[in-house]
Amino acid sequence: MAANQPLLQVNNLRIEFPNRRGTLVAVDDISLHIDPGEVLGVVGESGAGKSLTGAAIIGLLEPPGRIAGGEILLDGRRIDNLPYEQMRRIRGKEIGAIFQDPLTSLNPLYKISRQLVETIQTHTDMSATQARNHALDLLDSVGIPAASERLDAYPHEFSGGMRQRVVIALALAVNPRLIIADEPTTALDVSIQAQIIGLLRRLCRDHGTAVMLVTHDMGVIAETADRVAVMYAGRIAEVGPVEAVVKDARHPYTHGLMGSIPAVGHHVERLTQIDGAMPRLTEIPPGCAFNPRCPKVFDKCLAERPDLRPAGRTDVSCWLY
């Protein structure tokens, strides 16, 4: 492995949904990378393609969605064209996943212990006792009180926040190097959200795990991520260090997005608003997808699609730079 090779490299990824009226392009030519131990936030409105990107990386794209172009490399090795069985082995061992609804990740019929032990034994050669002890340590480390008593409980016996902790334990069970976390806190109450974010951050730092954090919540990104990619209509609008994107956004969309978040302590009568709504996949305009809503739109935006290029401390796809 080269010294400064990224852990994950996505090149020109394109995801399509063929339907009877034509082909919808849900993710259009996006490239991004995640370094070892780094937390990359992927933020965007619903339908921006952020969850699909995550799903494509772990190989769980639901048909009829398909990868129509580009490549996904883990440690320089292509993983987007692997047969199902090989991808299944990578998923779990090298890439873990945390979803919005913890119930979809846990089998309601099995005890927590069985699910953890099975996952551990599938990917390592631990004995049953070793695996069980490891499971216990995991539950302890994700902050489940009285872990030894809760190990043999069923998922429904846990509260929502505790369940999400179990899912995190499950995702961390075999020390993956990358975790795809898709809206991990959206279904949780605010006070639990903060706990889960703190936990995720601490564990990743301890284990050196890289995280791709997919969310619509800029607050979560600001607290957790090192870098952030802002997606709009299937494309990356801006990507850069989280601090630069939050405070010094260059893309008019990112800029408007930041202004539209009400902030406690700064009283404003009127929030900055971006008029209109993100276009449906069937109605993406030519040129820059943001052009109908952009306050700084000019001729070139209507005709040509901008590529990501450096501007200030971030990379922006906007003809202004």
Binding site: S46, Q195, G219, E223, I261, V268
Partner: protein, 347 residues
């Protein structure tokens, strides 16, 4: 003097006054199971003795985590639930004294609701025009197709949609546009009081800003009074004059927004404020308070927040605190009453 004990004067200026509101749900096992297995009846006290008042043209927000009863309060006020106790006065008229649809109609016309889910709050089989015209027809505010037509067109314009949008069906609109339709329907009967139940929590932030701005503009133009229900403190901060923090069916603290956000007193309010992500401080390391909201079926004794409270003592475990006056409002906390509260770090 507590809010609950505040006398309702005959010349009460409040638009809406809620007094000792209770709403219990029967969550008992079915009758046969109770008889055969000897189980007891179980009551879920979703709202347990809540009192507040909203002045005309102002916004009062109720915040809290899921299950704290804030939506139940909203539903009691608009008449979707019958209160188990207490009273709701609209401009001094006790709603419980109005029996029957005809008697309630004049109040219902003036008190409308905006719902959370823009995908469920519009009948998918109805054209937008008919959805917005429904209150006009139901209250017989206008006669004749032409008059209704003009009014609906006007309402669509008021919420930033085009008159021709009335011919479309809800599925042709985005979430934000649907919420605009929902607002137009709520405004159709010329109400002066709107109950807004998490109106933006299903929307993306950029769209949320549009809806919040629209709601503020409408409030200014039409002199509307809002009861705003939300779990998002930054939205509440932006919208409210007064904020009530609810925990397990009770008000923990109800104060002017300025006081509550600058110097929160109840430990639960402080916890909630602590969870707001601050975009100014990137990567702030927080030490969130442990624990989760307990089940409302068997709430803790005394102050229901005591298992999570760093200031809890014997009295908190045994005795339920009542709302006591404090700067800009009321707070229900023994630690505050006894002066045991450490100063808020931000103030």
């Amino acid at each position: 003097m507590t809010i609950a004990a505040a006398p309702t004067t005959p010349h009460d200026s409040a638009k809406l006054r809620v007094h000792g509101l209770k709403r219990y749900f029967d969550v008992s096992a079915p009758w046969l199971n109770r008889v055969l297995e000897g189980r007891k009846r179980q009551l879920l006290k979703a709202v347990d003795d809540i009192s507040f008042a909203i002045e005309p043209g102002k916004t009062l927000s109720l915040v809290g985590e899921s299950g704290c009863g804030k939506s139940t309060v909203a539903r009691c006020i608009v008449g979707l639930y019958r209160p188990s106790g207490g009273s709701i006065d609209f401009e001094g008229v006790d709603l419980a004294t109005l029996r029957g649809r005809a008697a309630q109609a004049p109040i219902r016309r003036r008190m409308q609701m905006i719902f959370q889910d823009p995908f469920a709050s519009l009948n998918p089989r109805w054209r937008v025009f008919d959805i917005i015209a429904e209150p006009i027809r139901a209250f017989r505010l206008l006669r004749g197709a032409g008059a209704i037509q003009r009014r609906v067109d006007e309402l669509l314009g008021q919420v930033g949609l085009a008159a021709r949008d009335g011919e479309k069906y809800p599925h042709e609109f985005s979430g934000g546009q649907r919420q605009r339709i929902s607002i137009a329907r709520a405004l159709a009967s010329n109400p002066d009081f709107l109950v807004c139940d998490e109106p933006t929590s299903a929307l993306d932030v950029s769209v949320q800003a549009q809806i919040l701005n629209l709601m503020k503009e409408l409030q200014r133009e039409l002199g509307l009074t809002y009861l705003f229900i939300s779990h998002d403190l930054s939205v509440v901060y932006h919208m409210s004059d007064t904020v009530g923090v609810m925990y397990l069916g009770r008000l923990a603290e109800i104060r002017s927004a300025a006081d509550l956000f600058s110097e929160p007193q109840h430990p639960y309010t402080r916890l909630l404020l602590e969870t707001i992500p601050d975009l100014d401080v990137i990567g702030r390391h927080r030490e969130p308070l442990a624990g989760e909201v307990p089940s409302p079926i068997n709430p803790p004794s005394g102050c229901t927040f005591h298992p999570r409270c760093p200031l809890a003592n014997e009295r908190c475990r045994a005795e339920r605190p009542e709302l006591q006056p404090t700067a800009g409002g009321f707070v229900a906390c023994h630690a505050v009453a006894e002066g045991r509260l450490p100063p808020h770090p931000a103030s």
